[in-house]
Symmetry: C3
Amino acid sequence: MIARLSLVLVALCTPSLASAAQPEPPVSKETAKCLGCHEAATPGIVADWRASRHAVTTPEKALLVPQGSRRVSAATVPEPMAKVVVGCFECHGQNAAAHKDNFSHFGQKVNVIVSPNDCRTCHPVEAEQYSHGKKAHAVGNLTKNPVYHALVETVVSSKDVKGGKVVPALPADEANRAESCFACHGTEIKVKGLKTVEIDDTPVKVPDLEGWPNHGVGRINPDGSLGACTTCHPRHGFSLEVARKPHTCGQCHLLPDVPALEVWTESKHGNLTLSLDSRTDWDEVPWVPGKHFRAPTCAACHSAQLADKDGNVLAARTHDFGSRLWVRLFGLVYAHPQPKDGDTSVIKNKDGLPLPTTFANEPASSFLIDANEQAARRAAMGKVCGSCHSTSYYQAQFAKLDHTVGESNRMTLAATQLVQQAWKSGLADKANPFDEPIELKWTEQWLFYANALRYSAAMNGQDMATFKQGWWKLTSNLKLMEAEVSGKRK
Amino acid sequence: MIARLSLVLVALCTPSLASAAQPEPPVSKETAKCLGCHEAATPGIVADWRASRHAVTTPEKALLVPQGSRRVSAATVPEPMAKVVVGCFECHGQNAAAHKDNFSHFGQKVNVIVSPNDCRTCHPVEAEQYSHGKKAHAVGNLTKNPVYHALVETVVSSKDVKGGKVVPALPADEANRAESCFACHGTEIKVKGLKTVEIDDTPVKVPDLEGWPNHGVGRINPDGSLGACTTCHPRHGFSLEVARKPHTCGQCHLLPDVPALEVWTESKHGNLTLSLDSRTDWDEVPWVPGKHFRAPTCAACHSAQLADKDGNVLAARTHDFGSRLWVRLFGLVYAHPQPKDGDTSVIKNKDGLPLPTTFANEPASSFLIDANEQAARRAAMGKVCGSCHSTSYYQAQFAKLDHTVGESNRMTLAATQLVQQAWKSGLADKANPFDEPIELKWTEQWLFYANALRYSAAMNGQDMATFKQGWWKLTSNLKLMEAEVSGKRK
Amino acid sequence: MIARLSLVLVALCTPSLASAAQPEPPVSKETAKCLGCHEAATPGIVADWRASRHAVTTPEKALLVPQGSRRVSAATVPEPMAKVVVGCFECHGQNAAAHKDNFSHFGQKVNVIVSPNDCRTCHPVEAEQYSHGKKAHAVGNLTKNPVYHALVETVVSSKDVKGGKVVPALPADEANRAESCFACHGTEIKVKGLKTVEIDDTPVKVPDLEGWPNHGVGRINPDGSLGACTTCHPRHGFSLEVARKPHTCGQCHLLPDVPALEVWTESKHGNLTLSLDSRTDWDEVPWVPGKHFRAPTCAACHSAQLADKDGNVLAARTHDFGSRLWVRLFGLVYAHPQPKDGDTSVIKNKDGLPLPTTFANEPASSFLIDANEQAARRAAMGKVCGSCHSTSYYQAQFAKLDHTVGESNRMTLAATQLVQQAWKSGLADKANPFDEPIELKWTEQWLFYANALRYSAAMNGQDMATFKQGWWKLTSNLKLMEAEVSGKRK
């Protein structure tokens, strides 16, 4: 490998073999240069790309596909990009002026990070939808919310013991957060300058980035845009199949706080999908229930362009993943109507806290969708369910979810009343609501157990609702809190 | 979609295109009518059925298959049903008089729910076997047993806090139970009358059902029968492949109380099955070890018709899933010989409690299978194991299971002695054995940890037995109980 | 089946049909005899073998394959074995004199257990590498280390309650350990003599073995060798595909103490592998990243022969699975440099304890690899990562791992200080550091939570690091320990 880089440098001075060998589809001369080196330097990336749709079609051809089956949402794509395949430079060379991570690399100006704003050139509708959702705001929704910020600070920070007391290890360490909460939520990528990396004994200058690597859903990119399309369409295949498989959502939506993958897996939908995986056509647009797949994955219900076999649209593709949802199930003290805007840091409840409900579960309604919007979203989701279930059947399921949401909130209210009593009696100190034994139990009540109960009802995985992380935990946790509050148990 | 129903109603007045387009195999005129609407109204269901064996064969042809490979167990199937494929009406039109959920639907009398008694027309042996197993009695075995009833009532019920005490929220809410315990065990489906559903703006009258949707194993159906074949052969594919895949059993047999799926997954059997999934013939009857599959799933050991490659039966198909088992591992305080009858609510132990053992682990032997029957079942399972393992090998495995069963019971007895001491000393109140901190620990000792230890031994997934939910938990839980009883820890 | 054995005995007296029917590839006459019976007696085993590479090639042919693609590492294989396929007798007949489990079986002398020393005939490099790794020493590393021995004795042993106290059930029972810790670590197989087994009513004499069946990585075999190749290449397919699939490592490397499978599954690597399983060429040698697989499994990073598409070696095959690792993440109080030798029972730290660090995290450096060796291993792993990632990218990942290792050790040190304070104050008794409530918490801090945090960073599955078993647990556990030590909570 030692000699590889120098060989490659020679190759760069000769006409590119890569582009010569592949007259169709046309590769831009910039991308051919990239491939000249990276075919040898990072063969896995190149192989991944070569197997992708990006490598074998041009935007011009992609635009000829009829609406409904089309995978690009731009009306036009500017030349010369439209006439070449979507290669290295077409993505890493976009909007160079906006990219603080742009650098000169063997004679070409490239960005390290491809952002949603770059993908927007061909996929503007998806980029726009995404930008309004909660995912795009996943960093600020944690960091700009004092309650959540306190939770993160308390939990994800190294501690020392001094005089028998657990105290924060100082200075606080941002890197821990990037390796936990913000691995999924996204980091802020900062360009600190250039650094030199030794590649096969040759020094190469590359941007020195803070917060990188990261593929979180709300990543703050060096061009100022929010998010990472690669969270779900991983580099460098950008595969629709991968994005539609449950393993993708299952990187973050997991026990104990968001048990979506586990509940789906134990549901009939999960069973059928996993059992019949080999009979599923994962890459079709539109995606036809019954024909292309026999039971839904996350993508079918929450994102994909669904149609019946005659092409009638059942659900239009959306990249605002909450837009078919009327209730927000997870991550907050009480389930409540979805927020109007993806940026939830602006919410203020009656108590002045940046939460969508009060501790007594009174909603901050002006920041949340109203009953009409809830009904519209319910109807939209109903059309998805209606492909395989009778109206009566899925409406009864929705009613069960409504009921369980109420019950889960009631079990959370009971725990909240107990922790409030502990605060009042001096058993615990309210200043930080996340750092004493009874407070930890209160947090688990809503963040883990009530969430799990609701997910079970939403996606029909009721084993979770019973002993695993639902009623058993909700009840026993309450009993332990009661014992602590009463002084029976310390 | 608004116009879809009216289009469909027009279609109903013209000769059915569906049946016209498919002269072979013959579809009954009633089913053709169903398809005329539902092809558009619920395309996913219809597609699922079209891909099924039911859609492409007639009972008459199915009866021509030689015994051993045959999938129907009836000696004969009455005409005209024998000569048409098993379509919508052949199932949903069965035994109309017995069905309280029968209703008139666009001119045909159909049942909402297809019950085991309906499937019995072609599959009488399976229906009969099933009716004697514990699964068919899964509702009554919970509700008619006062101990279990108390556990369910205590755990799965909303609570309020009043005066610092956790109290039941009144009135008690049955819906919570349908969404937890009884999602797997089954609900009782009650017909409350008819209701009107809006489908594409057209009002349609359908039965108003309580306890529905549900696909639990012991569902009490509107025709009085018990169970749901669709639990494992999900609608509307009724697939043998799906029933044989572990994901099906894995909807309910999961951590923390019944970790069958997890133990199997971490076993060599699970590893081989998951690793070689694509090389497995999931749909063959009989199922030949080594030829059709390389390692067993749940179905291979507990249900499927197994034969060697010459057709000699190794194990006859059974739908009484306990019939190859000699010990009952889970769900009760102590493991014990399998009950004689699937209805376990009749059991009474020496202390007069409806449990198969006393708290001191003395078995209620007259209700349990005897040593001869245990030996016979052990031999039956041995024949399954013997396909791939030497006699000496699998007998040593059985001996390990015997030993672990004893050890798990011993660790439960120790916990029982501690909780009894707490009852005696007044630390806890025996009136409800499931609602105080030390009682919760006692319950977890047998319901979660002892069960897990036994499953590990039964199916060779010993990682579970160590730290996950076996010895580590059994021991540390006992130490915590000891500290509570001794007053060292409250 | 009753008549099967006698039929088979007749078959043994006639020319073997099995070998006659299969002139190519040649089966030895000894193996033909085995097949004569076992084709009927254990058809699953025989079918498994027939589908294997062993059944269709001879060592002589295997030796003709060019280096780099070759699957045998011997320079030569002695005749007559080289000219026949690798059948029953070629493995079970090896080195008979060394095997205490050798016995006379229908006229042939066979070993029950095939050991790494038997596989060494064709695979000497793999056997040698394996013998120096930690896996080969997995029994002694537990049993000869007094600290670990105490942990095992305390946890995995039946208990009774006497006078309200939890006491060991006597005599201690070795069988429990074989069914938990030593199922993965390996048992010592002892030959107690011969015993008679009834097979189809015919008595057959076979060795009476203690500790069997077992396929643990450090099994002590009746020929004195250590380990079991069948742990990962299960009988009787000896499949490379199975060994490369994550389910194999996932039999033992699981939550809560070694969450490798879970972290990988929730990583992008896991997502891509599971999503694109059907597009992976699992059986190629060498294994080419990008071409044969799109994302790595355990085997790709830790064991497999990797090359680029031109055949240049990226990583040479190794069966010392720690040899590309510079830090040891799991199983000990603090993460530390890998030990120099697989036999870790020889390690002594400054406090005289057989642990690689002191309780204050001072490493026993003379027993651990030095900085140069660490750098060399880091570079070796970097070459694997470099197939798909830029140098800058994977170096940043390595830096994150370094950081998290430090943070995890700091959180363990804090817990250690608290338990030491409890020992000092008399709240707990240091004599056995694993048997009191606060000691159980201390053990969980390093054995479960700190391990999980490190795995998350090493393999990029950061959901684990947050609420599941990382920071949330590390912090709340510390808070609960603090409350116990302070006397606030008992």
